[in-house]
Amino acid sequence: MTLSSDQGITTARKTRTARWINKSNRSVYYLLGIIVVAVTIMALLDPNFFTARNLFNILNQQSTLGIVTMGVAIALIAGCIDLTVGNLLACTAAIAALLLQAGVSDVWVIVLPCAAGLLAGAVNGVIVVKTRIDSFIATLGLMTIYQGIALIIPSGNNIYLQGKFGWIGTYRVADIIPIPVFYFVLITILVYLVMRYTKFGRKLYSIGGNPEAAFLAGINLDLHKIMAYAISGLCAGFTSLIVISRIGQSQPAMGVAYPLEAIAAAVIGGVSLSGGKGTIPGVFLGAILLGLIRNSLNILRVPSFYQYVMLGVVVIIAVALSNLGAARRNR
């Protein structure tokens, strides 16, 4: 439409974006700052830290959690908590290992577990959406169901890959860059593009930000939540391939720590548990920061029992800082 100016409604207003970019990406800059400081301190403390090998190690170690976190973050942005990813990952790992044992070609060993993850995620989404149970509770129940399935599929056994399938998780490009780092970075870029430049991504932000307003704007809430859960399941399914390839076996109890660590990484990266907020670069850095701290504590020879305590403290401090910032803004 056009509105004529004789109604006294004209204002030329320069709307520039610079200020908001600083603001919305503040948590990204925070994190970058913290990471730079941590890396500098560690580099000064220990000469072995700041080597290409160790830095790639950190990335490599975080790649599996990082990929899972991308899926969990997508669901969180849409206002959905997904606690199933860890046990679901154990299920798809068992499927992959059984397929390998049966001598199926590598292509199918990649495709089928990913498809299973996607499908299971969609089922999670349907259950959350149709039963109207709070997503935390619904996926808590589902998590236990997958825990059972992860035991049922391989009859409770570890399944050894006997040297097959090693390339997907342990190959190093140019003998130095571990291939999972490539997956992690590629998936991060893909998710970033989807969340920022597609209508699908924007809809997820809208649904998480205000479901009622999104509904009245013509968005199909249920469909998009189901899709968010499906993507989260797909990420878990793909991650299971890297994990079994690395450790040479599938274990029914693997992955149990993933859901909470992934949520922690996403929240450190600026994602809000109530949905609608957070950027993918932030989530990426959140996952990196967790790995960096763990690696640093290892290098400093902090006993692993204490590492858990330290990690918990870091998570609480990071989230408290971002909450305090939000509270100040809304006052």
């Binding site: 200020r19 930000g209 205000n210 009245l216």
Partner: protein, 496 residues
Amino acid sequence: MQLLLEVKGCSKSFPGVKAFNKVDFDLYAGEIHCVVGENGAGKSTFIKMLSGALRPDEGTITIGGQVYMHLTPALAHHLGIQTIYQEISLAPDLTVAENIFMGAEPITRFGWIDYPRLKKESKTLLDNLQIDLDVDALAGNLNVPQKQSVQIAKAMRMDARIFILDEPTASYGTNEISNLLGLVKQIADKGVGVIYISHHLEEVFSLYDRVTVLRDGNKIATHDQSEVSEEKIISEMIGRDVSKFYTRASVDIDYSRAVEFLDFSNGEAVKDVSFKVHKGEIVGFAGMVGSGRTDLMRLIFGAGIKNSGSVIIEGKEVSIHSPKQAIQAGLSLLTEDRQKTGLILDHPVEWNVSIVHLNNTSGMFISEREESREVSHYIEAINIRTPSLKQEVRNLSGGNQQKVVLAKWLYANANVIIFDEPTRGIDIGAKEEIYKLMVQLSRQGKYIVMISSDMPELIAMCDRVIVMRQGKIVGEIGQDQLSEESILTYSIGGTL
């Protein structure tokens, strides 16, 4: 008679509004004192001051001979002031008896709750008030009037001396209303002073000992029973100089083209509503709060579950079962609560403006450059004052937030625009800008529906006003007869 309460010269200001202006009020034991006024007359400010939720800027409140500058909720409670609001505050999983004695349960020697006594005393209390309810029933299973009576019983248990009822019958049927009115009379007979706030004049007339009329925060008059007529009270409730209000430019209406809404019902709040809007026409919806106007618009927009109802746009029927279909048919709904249902407060202005357009056009991708350009265009066209496109909507003023909501529907190319309380809570300057925009839109040939509880606004803006009451259309007023008297008469159940 014993004087229970005396309010002297109480005032209260909010930024930009004098909500309550040097009001005097008194209440005697055993009296039912009704308070009437339009929406925004200061009734709720008055209640909040008496229940201790608001502090008066000046004036005194005298209770039982003691003079107070202001009350607190605890003090009000201590002095025996009990307020019954429209919203029910019972614990749904506890029984009637447990709710009545919540926080003051009789206990046995060993500190356990004495259930036999709890039940017996509840039963006695209910019998005294002639309330017929099972004390073992769960509060959650009761209907609204029953819950209301439990709340009243609970308040009586707490030795209420001053009883305030705020629009208690908003969602009642006729039968239930007469039950409640009977209960209120009984309470007064027991020597309690009752302040009864309502905009249903027939209730007031069947109940009152005295009635006080408020308008724009001022007390207009207090009348004794039998000295006043309904017409007199209506004229006192209105009494505003309408000519000072906004004067809009006139627009030619194309009567050959119309959007028709037929037989909308949802079985409860909306009953068999049909109306039509012509091209370029602004049709107002008046009625008291709770008359079903908002529910009707949500039904039309596909956001509620309807039993029946069809939309015919310029002769062609369109099927609408979801907001998405409504949007594709060219409808738009600016909801009454823009912060809760119209905007995503944490998201930037830009995202809020483009949301409907993006979600209802083809293509998968977002071009940020095009988005910024288009949104900038609307921001300039309707003069949204924001430091940047990226500003979070939360930080804008109410008027600018409303314009963001409007911009999103304009960008979505809406043809039928439903405004629900478009100027609620925004300042007078921004109101006029919204009015101007509405007139411009009608000039462009849009179909405009406007719900408002602000009668001068309806009269100034609308070509025609439809009045709803209890889910039905009870009157339609053309411009020649449009006045606050005619609207109010229909709204409270009268006829012209």
